[in-house]
């Protein structure tokens, strides 16, 4: 699986803001912290706003604030705002009576796509944030109960 840049940047921004729902951050703040393009992120933030996941805060000290539900929004919910996660086989003329080899390959890629989506659709932002915190604690040498799958 290869996420496109828009999905990846959206996940970074949403997780950054959802970690503290009171926090307001500008596009530049998020982009600089994670080393990503401010210009590209600005367009993504507009999509996230339209989807109701973040809210633009006007005025001095404004920026964006998370406005979704961390326990009900999954990684797939965010990704699907930007891409379908369908594998692409470059076979333009395949139909129901088409080449059985291509049909089999499409069936296999569909199975893989469904598994990928099943995983991403069950990891909520809350779970990803919890694992992120545990990972950060481990990196700074603090002990923590439980663990994070590598």
């Amino acid at each position: 699986m290869k996420l496109n840049k828009a999905s990846l940047f959206a996940l970074i921004a949403v997780l950054e803001l959802a970690g503290d729902t009171e926090k307001q951050l500008s596009t530049t703040d998020i982009a600089q912290k994670h080393g990503i393009s401010t210009h590209h992120l600005a367009k993504i933030m507009r999509n996230l706003t339209h989807a109701g996941l973040v809210q633009a805060v006007r005025g001095a000290g404004g920026g964006y604030r998370f406005s979704g539900n961390v326990r009900r929004t999954t990684l797939l919910d965010v990704i699907q705002l930007f891409e379908t996660l369908e594998s692409e086989l470059d076979v333009p003329h395949w139909g129901s009576d088409g080449d059985p080899i291509i049909g089999e390959l499409l069936s296999i890629t569909s199975e893989i796509d469904n598994l990928t989506k099943a995983v991403l659709d069950t990891i909520t932002l809350a779970t990803a944030l919890k694992n992120t915190r545990i990972r950060a604690e481990l990196q700074t040498g603090q002990t923590s109960p439980g663990g994070v799958a590598s």
């Binding site: 995983v119 779970t127 799958a149």
Partner: protein, 148 residues
């Protein structure tokens, strides 16, 4: 918000409460199914078969069932959780988490270091619940085929 409940081993008199919490077994199949489960997991003194209930004010508000299974599919002994339910009025209070943590402790005492479960991939809520407790995709893949 977290509701503190007491968690104890199920006893025979919990049967009706457990049946009323179960949302999965068909209504007419429930008594027979649960009677056999109680025979297997409650009425026998085995440390590797666990049937726990969560109680709040003398009311059973949830249950969890699991056991140690060894060498199925070539797997070394591991814990399996195959049933978990919490009263619909008491959801999101941490009761399911307390039940899972307690059965994990008991399974660990029984000598295993891995716990597994299986969930319908369309059951997003339950999958998200287990994900939130740290479970992730394991090394075994479930395979199936229509044979009719």
């Amino acid at each position: 918000m977290k509701e503190q409940v007491s968690i104890r081993d199920a006893v025979a008199s919990d049967l009706d409460a457990v049946i009323s919490l179960d949302q999965w077994a068909p209504q007419d199949a429930k008594p027979d199914y649960w009677s056999s489960v109680f025979d297997h997991y409650v009425r026998r003194d085995k440390t590797d078969r666990l049937f726990l209930v969560a109680e709040s004010g003398n009311v059973v508000v949830g249950f969890i069932i699991g056991e140690v299974r060894a060498w199925e599919f070539g797997s070394p002994p591991c814990g399996w959780v195959f049933a978990l339910a919490v009263s619909s009025e008491r959801r999101q209070l941490g009761i399911g988490q307390q039940l899972f943590e307690e059965i994990s402790n008991r399974l660990k005492q029984a000598g295993v270091t891995t716990v597994r479960t299986m969930v319908d991939r369309d059951d997003k809520l339950t999958l998200s619940f287990f994900r939130g407790l740290g479970l992730c995709t394991g090394k075994y893949l479930e395979l199936e085929k229509q044979i009719d």
